[in-house]
Subunit: 134 residues, 2 copies
DNA sequence: TGTTGACCTAGAGTTAACTATAGGGTTTAT
DNA sequence: ATAAACCCTATAGTTAACTCTAGGTCAACA
């Protein structure tokens, strides 16, 4: 079973422009073509694109992701590099989690703050009571 | 107690360029100046900047953040809007958390995959055993 | 057979968020 | 009193990641 570029775009919630851009940047050297040049995506290509999206979501720039893809093409000699890279990504993701927790705390606090203020019809309720303005 | 722009930059881990850029974009209408134009940051300004950083970390663009700041200046008539905005941000942050969990799962899986492969000296150990290549 | 709708490339354009430069003022330490 | 170390504005430049356009190929359907 293979997929066209627009099918893959739909599946991964990307545009065909974005997929072609990724290909141009060297992120998809594994995707095969029909004799006339049309891309044919295999199941494993979609798995690889999921990994790419995963790396991107940790804030990894496309040029770094390309390095990883190149290492994959280079075979077993790059295994350690690839392992180290994922360990680093794990650390980044964990830091993001910590950051996100703090963000959620502040947002929850703000939700409380504004709920009280909306109910009171004025923000003064906080100013007079010193529950923290910002 | 007040702070200079470079002190605030250090505190918030931003550059002075970034702070001046935020000011230019209307994110800091509350910051006062000395007679000759130098910005003087109060404690409450730093609190506000923390909120701005919090919103930014949920992916909110600066123009949207400016809207919120404007609402703050507009007073009690915008309380509901501000409340709704934080509820929406809360939903976004929760979605980000879900996304991040999935990301971490994939990364952990990959860490396992590469640990095994590095130990074996080859990636073939997975190809033959079908533990999932990507 | 001809037109619709996919696909393709090359390359230009866009956008957000900085980041830096030029040119100038003020305060502080020697 | 002069140089270092801040501060300022206005404006230009950068970068990443798309996003789009122009111009063209190809397969299927009416």
């Amino acid at each position: 079973m293979t997929y066209s570029i627009s099918e893959v775009a739909k599946k991964l919630n990307l545009t065909v422009y974005t997929l072609r851009y990724y290909d141009k940047e060297g992120l998809m050297p594994f995707v095969e073509r029909t004799p006339n040049g049309t891309r044919l995506f295999k199941e494993s290509d979609i798995d690889a694109l999921n990994v790419i999206e995963c790396l991107k979501s940790t804030g990894m720039p496309i040029k770094e992701i390309k390095k990883f893809i190149d290492w994959c093409s280079d075979g077993d000699s790059t295994l350690q590099k690839r392992y180290d890279m994922f360990l680093e990504r794990k650390a980044v993701a964990e830091a993001q989690l910590e950051e996100l927790k703090k963000t959620m705390e502040l947002i929850n606090h703000k939700c409380e703050y504004y709920k009280t203020a909306v109910d009171a019809g004025t923000e003064d309720i906080h100013k007079t009571n010193k529950i923290g303005n910002f």
